[in-house]
């Protein structure tokens, strides 16, 4: 038991927070410089990651987009679908009993009585 107490000598004040003198002096050798919460290091690491992602975007993705663009084919496909949808819609709208004609008919009747 006495041995354990001896082991705690010097650490007891530190653990209980009584001796705070070391906190008040920010210039304790080189340790204080290293003990900067790694804020700048984290910041530089984040910036490094950011730049890696930019390089990846510009070098790899933009290169693929430039060399193997899918846009012309996709545009042709979308335009063909669009034209087909328009034709089908017009065909459905121009049937004799279509609601479009019925509505136009009622509007004309209302205004040109």
């Amino acid at each position: 038991m006495t041995n354990k107490k001896d082991e705690n000598i010097g650490f007891k004040e530190f653990l209980e927070g009584e001796d705070k003198a070391f906190l008040e002096n920010p210039n304790i050798g080189s340790k204080s410089r290293n003990n900067s919460n790694f804020e700048l290091e984290t910041f530089l690491e984040q910036d490094s990651n950011r730049m890696s992602k930019l390089i990846e975007t510009f070098e790899e993705k933009a290169f693929v987009i430039k060399k193997f663009s899918q846009f012309p084919q996709l545009e042709i496909e979308a335009e063909a679908k669009n034209i087909a949808a328009r034709i089908e819609t017009i065909e459905l709208c121009t049937r004799e009993n279509s609601p479009l004609f019925a509505n136009i008919d009622s509007i004309f009747k209302k205004f040109f009585k």
Partner: protein, 162 residues
Amino acid sequence: MAIPIYKLINIDNSIETSIQRQLEGHQFSQVPTILDVTELSDQFEAITHIENFLLEKEVSSFPYPTYIVTKIKNYHGEYSFFESIDKTPSFYWKKLKQLNARENKILQKNYLKQKNLENTQGHNFQEELVKYAKGHKVIFNLNKEINFLESIQKNLEAFYDK
């Protein structure tokens, strides 16, 4: 090799030659830069000259951006505009300190990446990305119209099936 924290330049005159003199020699894109014109009486003129200068020098926002701080609201231009310095992205607001060995090593690595990024700028990849985005918008609009027409068709078919 500078630490990438904001470099603030207070523009002190809205005359073109004065702005050119102030901005000439500054290493844009190598550190994030804030150009503050809030103290000037004719901010619009100053911004126009700054934009012309930056476009002429082909200043890119990569790897580090250039921000312009002005009190003019809803101004849209080639670069990013903020109403006050406090509203600029906080990422680059860091206190300048003496670097330790580890931090220096990361900074050197970042410098190489920065050079790599600068080299890719020559291939006009940014233009390609803009073209790619515009193409997507065209396809999006076409598909939006197709969806609209299909919804009309669905309603009409339901009407005729009655």
